[in-house]
């Protein structure tokens, strides 16, 4: 049997009196990308820190490529392989590039620490910078490059050591929407090319669906489930979608073309929506689709297609804003970053045009 790329069993961690992780169990197939979604404070970063060896768990076991790298019980570590020996790449939320080093030196750091010959350093670093499209930035300091470029450099620094496991902690969360979308595509391409096991944590459901082959939901330190995307999509019903905070929209599936479907939602013009799961067999039927709030997009260009809806409410959080659109019976929640909300300059009562960027056909209408 092929060992899992990463396997976590009975993992628990408390910080003071707060239980951050509670008996987590999952296994991610070698070479696959797993995405774990959860809100802020769900324990996502702690989970990655434990897998990487930066934090010691109170209980449980972590194995990478079938080798146990950490095992704890009763708050004491029994096995603890040092972080640098686990061969894990880690891209942090704030990238953590060394500010006094150039981009080249940042990427070369791990190789130099391992006393690689300078010809190897030159070759591997150049290769990693080339792959991430940041070769021309090699002599710049982190303070001289943009957030998107920092993300690419951080990934280059992680992959240059050819890790068995790549951990990504919300690497796109600090970026604006357009950069995020470009990088999301690049990340997917990179993950496919690398064929390394990747564990990606995010609060963005849309991002998780796009990047993850397996998906998990982490809430208050508990993992609701962890399974392949196909399995999850096939099983997802109304209650799970509601739990995940998706918008539920009822309508009739008029047509399916490629990976998209045309929906007739009562009171709206027909809308075309990219569908995340198989839908060909349900043309002409009444369906319920689940739409992540991040996939409801407000269109700012005048002539662009979209459905007109009124802003009924605005809920502001720390770094994001939820805009409640439409009538009470057909309510849609759209989520944008605080920065983007300020750019949009919207108020309650305004009418906006919206499109649905992704939707998931639920397994049953009721």
């Amino acid at each position: 049997m092929t060992p899992s790329g990463v396997e976590v069993r009975g993992l628990s961690k408390s910080l003071g009196s707060r239980q951050v992780l509670c008996e987590l169990d999952f296994a991610l197939e070698m070479g696959k990308t797993g995405a774990i979604v959860g809100p802020s404070g769900a324990g996502k970063t702690t989970l990655l820190n434990i897998i990487s060896g930066l934090v010691v768990a109170d209980a449980g076991r972590v194995a990478i490529d079938g080798v146990t790298v950490a095992q704890s019980s009763e708050g004491k570590p029994r096995i603890h392989v040092p972080p640098s020996v686990r061969n894990v790449g880690y891209v942090f939320q704030d990238y953590l590039l060394f500010p006094h080093m150039t981009v080249f030196e940042n990427v070369a750091y791990g190789l130099r620490a391992r006393h690689s010959p300078s010809s190897t350093v030159m070759e591997k670093v150049s290769g990693a910078l080339e792959r991430m499209g940041v070769r021309e930035l090699r002599d710049k300091k982190p303070s001289q490059i943009s957030g998107g470029e920092m993300q690419r450099v951080a990934l280059a620094r992680a992959i240059v050591l050819e890790p068995k496991l790549l951990l990504m902690d919300e690497p796109l969360s600090a970026l604006d929407r357009s950069t995020r979308e470009t990088l999301r595509l690049e990340l997917k391409r990179t993950f496919d090319e690398l064929a390394t096991t990747v564990l990606y944590v995010t609060h963005d459901l849309d991002e998780a669906f796009f990047l993850g082959q397996s998906l998990g939901i982490l809430h208050s330190g508990r993992l609701s489930f962890f399974s392949s995307k196909g399995d999850l999509l096939g099983r997802m019903g109304r209650s799970t979608a509601e739990f995940l905070g998706f918008n539920l929209v009822e309508g009739r599936l008029l047509a399916v073309n490629g990976s998209g479907g045309t929906l007739q939602i009562p009171g709206w013009e027909p809308v075309t929506v990219p569908l995340l799961n198989e839908s060909a067999g349900r043309v002409g039927q009444d369906v319920v689709v689940a739409v992540p709030p991040e996939s409801v997009r407000i269109v700012t260009q005048g002539g662009a297609p979209g459905v007109r809806a009124r802003i009924n409410d605005v809920w502001e959080f720390k770094d994001r804003v939820q805009i409640v659109l439409g009538d009470p019976g057909k309510r849609l929640v759209c989520e944008v970053s605080s920065l983007e909300f300020r750019k949009l300059a919207l108020n309650r009562g305004d009418y906006v045009k919206l499109t649905l960027e992704n939707a998931l056909l639920l397994s049953q209408t009721a």
Partner: protein
């Protein structure tokens, strides 16, 4: 009837500028007096005086040696106090800072009682033929004693200011903690370390009371520039002024270098 309000004179600005001018004069006049005291025609003769040259040499040698000792012990100590929490840390902090407040006479006496040949440590040193009082090593010890806290305070602040998550990222990439320390921690703290070194070096050069009590004032052996001034004051005011002027220039340079080292770049 209309009333015209006369603009009030801003007396507070006059007061603040007045205080600043008084304070500046309070420093500048005495310092300038040193330079005015030196007869221009005797500068070459004063500079060539063997006792002055010897005092300059001893001052430079001992202050530089004490700086090396301070760096060797101070960097690990500052790092430990910055990053680790342990029982009794508050007391240790106070002990490390104590020489800043301790009167020089008390520090000198303390060193004398601890290292003089009649003390337990002194007896051990004596067995190896070393009597510290009257020896240049005592000058280095006295200077290290008083200057060490200046370096540790500055170095500790520099280590405190490093984002600990950068060290965390480094620990993932580097199997060697020493490599991380050398390539990440030290460069990031370098500004504070350089500033602390300059301050400590300057303090060591100006050391007087502790050295006088512990090492003595022996020309050519333990006589540093401040001690030479003290001796010259009684019989050669020009010589004392000349040596003082050198120290004023060095002090000015130390402050300028510290400012340069700590400025944001």
């Amino acid at each position: 009837m209309t009333t015209v309000q006369r603009e009030q004179r801003d007396w507070s600005a006059v007061l603040f500028w007045g205080c600043l001018i008084v304070l500046l004069l309070f420093v500048v006049i005495p310092v300038a007096s040193i330079f005015f005291e030196i007869p221009g025609s005797s500068v070459v003769a004063l500079a060539a005086d063997p006792s002055t040259l010897s005092a300059i040499r001893i001052t430079l040698v001992t202050s530089t040696a004490s700086l090396f000792v301070i760096l060797a012990f101070g960097i690990p100590t500052a790092r430990l106090l910055s990053r680790r929490e342990f029982k009794g840390k508050g007391i240790i902090d106070t002990i490390v800072d104590l020489p800043i407040i301790l009167p020089p006479a008390v520090a000198g006496l303390a060193l004398l009682l601890a290292f003089a040949p009649r003390s337990p440590i002194g007896k051990v040193l004596l067995a190896y033929g070393l009597i510290l009082p009257g020896n240049i090593v005592a000058v280095v010890i006295a200077e290290t004693f008083v200057a060490m806290p200046y370096f540790i305070t500055s170095a500790r602040t520099a280590f405190d200011e490093i984002n600990p998550r950068l060290e965390m990222a480094s620990s993932l990439l580097s199997p060697s903690k020493f490599f991380s320390f050398r390539r990440v921690v030290l460069p990031l703290a370098s500004r504070g370390l350089v500033a602390g070194s300059i301050l400590a070096w300057g303090r060591a050069m100006g050391e007087f009371g502790t050295t006088l009590l512990f090492a003595g004032n022996l020309p050519g052996i333990t006589q540093t520039m401040p001690l030479a001034i003290y001796l010259d004051l009684a019989n050669n005011i020009y010589q004392a002024s000349f040596v003082s002027a050198i120290l004023v220039v060095i002090s000015f340079a130390v402050i300028a270098m510290t400012r340069w080292a700590t400025r944001r770049r």
